[in-house]
Symmetry: C2
Subunit: 190 residues, 2 copies
DNA sequence: TAGTATAGTGAACAAGTGTTCACCTTGTCA
DNA sequence: TGACAAGGTGAACACTTGTTCACTATACTA
């Protein structure tokens, strides 16, 4: 078993956001021949960590970025450290559809707490999308911005909070919907 | 205003996971001189979309990956399409600390629903971390895996669900804690 | 003990790299 | 009309790229 050369690639990628060239990696890993790198890369490519396109330039493989998805929680953890059956994915690819129209907002207030959106969470919202019945939207009500369910029955529109403490809102004159929520993210400070 | 050359970079990066060379971009954008690319890149670098390190090799800038964070939801949306004050960030960088020990699990069951973790959500869990009082953990109880709060008072450990329908669990013989939840992610099908 | 993978060295190669120069359009604005 | 800037061409430059060859040292196995 050789050294953990993948760690060098990871570290380089983390700061530079690209993969090193063979010479750069030589210096990183303390090697003295590009051929050594060539062989290391071939192995990492085989394992799915790196990718090479025409011309041999390196790109991150599917296992380089991304986190392994283990499947349903009821299945628990695969007891050994080996699990090839699962795939990996990056959160950005998973959550973001139209990157140009997507923004993040930090949630304050508890108006959607029963929908699992807690204060402090980040919501991913997409602009310019037509809200549909049942969507969570970013709306302006009473000159303040909040999250609400968008309920549409016929032509009748109601903004419904997911919190028994608050009442549904029937917009009076103008209804300002800035964006539709496409995802929610919570980080636990552990 | 020239064409939207950034879109070419985005599309290339999305499929190849690296940035194109000048010649490759020439072909993409239908240009006939590397110098044209040179000037385009200089502009995109100035705007923060691209980065160049020594040797001129390209890397994604801070605005290339990542989503703009607009701040608190109460502030709503900045009315024009201009907001330079906010920063951008990628979800992976935000949520993932120790990438090698991090996995994703799809949540089934409603035992943590009052903590904002709904069935169908994805939780990010980190292995090999010592759980502390109040953490959400992946635990094996009654030969099944679930999410529970990890409550520790003195030497006494209880696994507490965030759902009034279920009762806290006092582990009898052995307590198997596989991982600690460090994040939660929900995707709305819009 | 000899045999054989494994991992790395060192040098050479053609091809591709970003940069820089002078030059050419084209549209804008005074 | 003339000046000017923006955006693109075309060619040359020195340098870096990944690849390949033959060779060496080390460790393990039969």
């Amino acid at each position: 078993m050789g050294k953990n050369y993948l760690a060098f690639f990871n570290k380089f990628y983390k700061t530079k956001r690209r993969l090193p060239s063979y010479r750069e990696f030589m210096a990183l890993a303390g090697l003295k021949s590009t051929n050594a790198v060539h062989k290391i890369v071939a192995k990492l490519e085989e394992e799915g960590f790196l990718r090479r396109d025409d011309g041999g330039r390196l790109a991150p493989g599917s296992r380089f970025l991304g986190v392994p998805v283990l499947g349903n929680i009821a299945a628990g953890f695969p007891t050994p450290a080996e699990e090839e059956l699962c795939d990996t994915m990056t959160l950005d690819e998973y959550l973001i559809g139209h990157k140009e129209a997507t923004y993040m907002l930090k949630v304050s207030g508890d108006s959607m707490i029963e929908a699992g959106i807690m204060p402090g969470d980040l919501v991913l919202v997409e602009r310019g999308r037509q809200p549909r019945d049942g969507d969570v939207v970013v709306a302006e009500v009473d000159h303040a911005w909040t999250l609400k369910y968008y309920k549409k029955t016929g032509e009748h529109i109601t903004l419904v909070p997911a919190n028994r403490k608050y009442r549904p809102i029937v917009p009076t004159d103008e209804l300002n919907i800035a964006a539709v929520v496409v995802g929610a993210v919570r980080k636990y400070k552990v």
